[in-house]
Symmetry: C2
């Protein structure tokens, strides 16, 4: 398989996404300055931009125009950023730091962080519904896919399970179901939005869902292995590190396999392997 420099690919996509977000997010404009700053602080704070990269790369894989997928990619990143802001709030994980600096509510106060999260979530749907490079049919599908992935039976549902399972450890299948909702659903939506933009067929959507499942669960397993904690909602409550690493490897192989018949699949295949081998 052709070697792809994943660091370079992520850097290029990240530049695209960051400059799009910088242009699309509101700025200046009293009296909302503090809201706009809080939104920008969290959305422009770095991060690897894995999810929006998936949107762009799946659009590319399906032969679509990557520029047309940028508003969708930005929408996905807004949803991801909102989820981090709300997760960090005192009533949730109560985390003072995020990506090596103050979390949003430490920097801007709790009320502004709550509202910045609300505004980013809302803006994601504005971006997707108003993508000028796609027609109403595609924009509607994008909104629907994103809302489904983020909502009560997706990311928010996963968060509720996470809170519940801190009290009572679930069985393994319920644990995996939680990880699917918390993480895999939005990763799936990220891939799906790229394909919607490119007008891909259902077979390709099915392949993307399989890919997203593989890299999404593997991502969580690697997180848990790197974290090393065996208490709480971690795969290490169900298997040892070697077994978890082996499972992540198999999931990654299955992700790579799912897209292997598509020409130009090397970038996404290499990304899956890069995610498996990460050490931080």
């Amino acid at each position: 398989m052709i070697k792809v420099n994943v660091d370079e690919m992520l850097r290029k996509n990240s530049e695209l996404i960051t400059s799009a977000l910088d242009a699309l997010l509101p700025k200046g404009d009293e009296p909302h300055t503090v809201l706009y700053e809080a939104m920008r602080y969290s959305a422009l704070s770095g991060g690897k931009r894995i999810r929006p990269t998936l949107t762009l790369e799946f659009c590319r894989l399906a032969g679509g125009d990557v520029t047309a997928a940028i508003p969708y990619a930005a929408a996905v990143e807004c949803v991801h950023t909102y989820s981090l802001i709300h997760d960090d709030l005192p009533c949730m994980d109560n985390s003072d730091t995020r990506r090596g600096r103050k979390s949003c509510h430490i920097a801007y106060g709790e009320a502004n962080a709550l509202l910045a999260g609300d505004a980013l979530l809302t803006y994601a749907f504005a971006l997707a519904s108003e993508n000028p490079f796609a027609d109403a049919e595609r924009n509607c599908r994008a909104v629907s896919a994103l809302a489904g992935a983020a909502g009560y039976d997706g990311m928010v549902g996963g968060q509720v399970c996470d809170l519940l399972y801190e009290k009572t450890a679930p069985d393994f299948s319920a644990f995996i179901d939680m990880e699917c909702k918390k993480t895999v659903e939005l990763i799936t939506a990220a891939c799906t939005l790229g394909l919607i933009c490119a007008g891909a067929d259902e077979e390709m959507h099915a392949a993307a869902r399989k890919y997203a499942y593989g890299i999404g669960i593997a991502f969580q397993l690697i997180d848990d292995i790197l974290d090393g904690d065996t208490a709480g909602n971690t795969v290490l409550a169900y298997m040892d590190r070697a077994e978890a690493a082996d499972t992540a490897k198999k999931l990654t192989e299955s992700a790579v396999e799912s897209i292997s018949s598509y020409e130009g699949c090397e970038a996404l295949a290499s990304l899956a392997e890069w995610l498996l081998s990460r050490t931080a």
Copy 2:
């Protein structure tokens, strides 16, 4: 003008909306039960359903099929409900009660209330984008109008101003701008979504915006008069009760005037007057 029984109209529309929300909101289904219950607790807790009534009545006024507007009306009510849940949170208004019973975070805990609000906001966009009675063009416009009204330059922006102005009282025009963002924008979207559903022309959209402005600001003024407090963000910091009542009356007249040329305008005209004369 034909007499319209507003209580009866609101009762009928409220029944439609409540039974739609009851059918549309998730229920049962472990392990999310607590999330679904919190969403339902707040969305099915009564309230006059003014906003979704506006959606249905503007659809009717424009000759549209009211049934087709129900998913949009439900979406508007989900956004309204989310805003109440997040407003009541300890870091915002810290309110223990809402509509005569425990606020969502008192009943379900702060984390679940935060997440129930997030889920309702997200679900609003699912409902609007997936309205089976309208085409993708209309559903996209509905999502866009709703996201604009709810977002950083709409309701969330208004909330940020409200927080700011607790510290420094603004001049009157900034105060009115805050009220527009906090309240009028979503009321405007409620009217607009009914018209989008019916395929109304731009002239009717302009009339609806004027109507929404009139009833929206009048609504806030009446709230402030009934509340009677002269401290904080209230119109009584700028004028006395009599002046405020007179302003509300003029705004209501202007709202009624804006739609008076449309056949069947009596229901919405009577609603505007009913809102002006309310005593609670």
